[in-house]
């Protein structure tokens, strides 16, 4: 694959790198990368892959750009708020480098489309934000014999590795299932509401991801296969630990039990009504329209907002603010003799608060506002 004069000029700093030179550049041009997620990790990852001259990049994301993304998702600007992320991302990458081909897929990666998408690229880069998609990406990469460049972040901490890399002896390196065979059940790890992330952290990890993608595609250096790199930004501590192949890996172990993709929502215990009933008691809920009806008809109830003060400062339904963490210290403000509607941003925290109050303090008059303030805003814009 030859390089045009424009490309020779654009990639001059690569071409004069002895270890990279024109051969490395041609390999990049002939390569294709599937990037899952164009958020915090995907932003620097995509920018560097496009700038470096990866010939074909496909971006998969179903999200829209939100104000709260701009603190870390440097692909986007104010004008992109509300646009599909893949559309804004592809436009940005094309303006950065017209010599490459960018395809945007405004869709969710699923068990139905994952294998075909992975199979039609040389490498997949995982910049997602949830366990279900991470296991899906890993399993699809293993089943299609593609390397999976993985990075993940939480607050001030990041992890990165290259999974399923082709080794010099022709075998494949360890994959995500060798490290973590199964995901944590919902509720056992801190949720998004308690999470948060320092904006620059995905910038660092996503850049490291781009580095490993380029190394794997060009064959330069030693990719981070069989090793997990850990970065703690608070103390600037870095560690690299060894990942070994597990004989119990359901895909690549001694007795594989899985030969195709599975239902990853179920695998991660998400959205299963039966499961939820088994582990968590049902709570009373109210839909946004019904909530409006209650207000309009003057029905007597108390509204409590369990979000954080900074969230209530942005928009509020006028409820009394008792952040989730201070609910137990504020029982005197939660009456028992009338309906109490509790809400948060999306309905997750408020449901948790209701379960806690019912289980530990015998409340029977609490009602969760389904979908929280997000659903109320959606109703208002319909």
């Amino acid at each position: 694959m030859d390089l045009s004069n424009a490309e020779l000029a654009r990639y001059a700093r690569h071409l004069i790198l002895p270890e990279f030179n024109i051969e490395g550049q041609k390999k990049l041009k002939a390569s294709s990368v599937l990037v899952i997620g164009s958020g915090g990790l995907g932003s620097p990852l995509l920018l560097y892959l496009a700038a470096a001259g990866v010939g074909r990049i496909t971006i998969v994301d179903f999200d829209r750009v939100d104000d709260s993304n701009l603190q870390r998702q440097v692909l986007f600007g104010m004008a992109d708020v509300g646009r599909p992320k893949v559309e804004a991302a592809a436009a940005r990458l094309r303006s950065l480098n017209p010599c490459i081909e960018v395809t945007s897929l405004d869709t969710q990666l699923t068990s139905e489309n994952a294998r075909e998408l992975v199979a039609s690229h040389d490498l997949v880069a995982d910049g997602t934000d949830n366990f279900a998609t991470r296991y899906l990406v890993n399993d699809a990469a293993v089943l299609e014999n593609k390397p999976n460049v993985y990075a993940s972040i939480y607050r001030f901490e990041g992890q990165i590795s290259v999974f399923n890399a082709l080794l010099p002896d022709g075998t494949r390196g360890p994959n995500y299932r060798d490290l973590f065979p199964t995901p944590p059940p919902p509720g056992l790890v801190p949720s998004c509401a308690e999470g948060g992330v320092l904006g620059v952290l995905p910038g660092i990890l996503g850049s490291l991801q781009a580095l490993e993608v380029i190394k794997v595609l060009t064959g330069i250096g030693e990719p981070l296969s069989g090793r997990l790199f850990l970065f703690d930004a608070t103390t600037f501590t870095t560690r690299t630990v060894k990942i070994r192949k597990s004989p119990n890996n359901p895909l690549t172990g001694e007795q594989p039990t899985q030969t195709e993709l599975i239902n990853y929502q179920e695998f991660c215990g998400i959205g299963l009504a039966g499961e939820r009933e088994a582990s968590e008691p049902e709570i009373q809920e109210i839909e946004p329209q019904q909530f409006l009806d209650w207000r309009e008809t003057g029905r007597k109830f108390k509204l409590i907002d369990v979000r954080e003060p900074f969230e209530a400062a942005i928009d509020s339904l006028g409820g009394e603010l008792i952040p989730e963490g201070s609910v137990l210290a504020s029982l005197d403000r939660i009456p028992r003799e009338m309906d109490v509607v509790i809400h948060c941003r999306s309905g997750v925290r408020s449901a948790r608060v209701i379960r806690l109050l019912e289980a530990e303090h015998g409340y029977k008059n609490l009602v969760n506002l389904q979908g929280g303030i997000v659903a109320m805003n959606n109703l208002a814009t319909q």
Binding site: F131, P183, V189, E194
Partner: protein, 94 residues
């Protein structure tokens, strides 16, 4: 004295401490010591049968204890032990 490094997601059970020091001489004793001093961390490390959870890995130096002697792995003085949990990112979809 072994030093156990606590990952961010578990620090809310250790009073925000990122490291835990112990005179324990093997991994099992070190984790037991941790769980005794910070009882709320126990359910995040061990399942009901007392096994380490599948989304938590423990490393002595850079080596997974599964490749050593599991929780019976002996700890020399000044050994660094890491608890490494699966982290997924900041999804708002879960």
């Amino acid at each position: 004295m072994a030093t156990l490094l606590i990952p961010t997601p578990l620090r809310k059970f250790t009073g925000d401490a990122g490291a835990f020091e112990s005179q324990a001489t093997d991994v099992a004793a070190l984790l037991t010591d941790l769980a005794q001093q910070h009882p709320n961390i126990r359910q995040h490390l061990f399942d009901d049968s007392g096994e380490l959870r599948s989304f938590i890995r423990v490393f002595v130096g850079d080596e997974d204890i599964d490749a050593l002697s599991g929780t019976a792995t002996a700890l020399a003085p000044d050994t660094q032990v890491s608890i490494i949990p699966a982290i997924a990112g900041g999804s708002t979809h879960l």
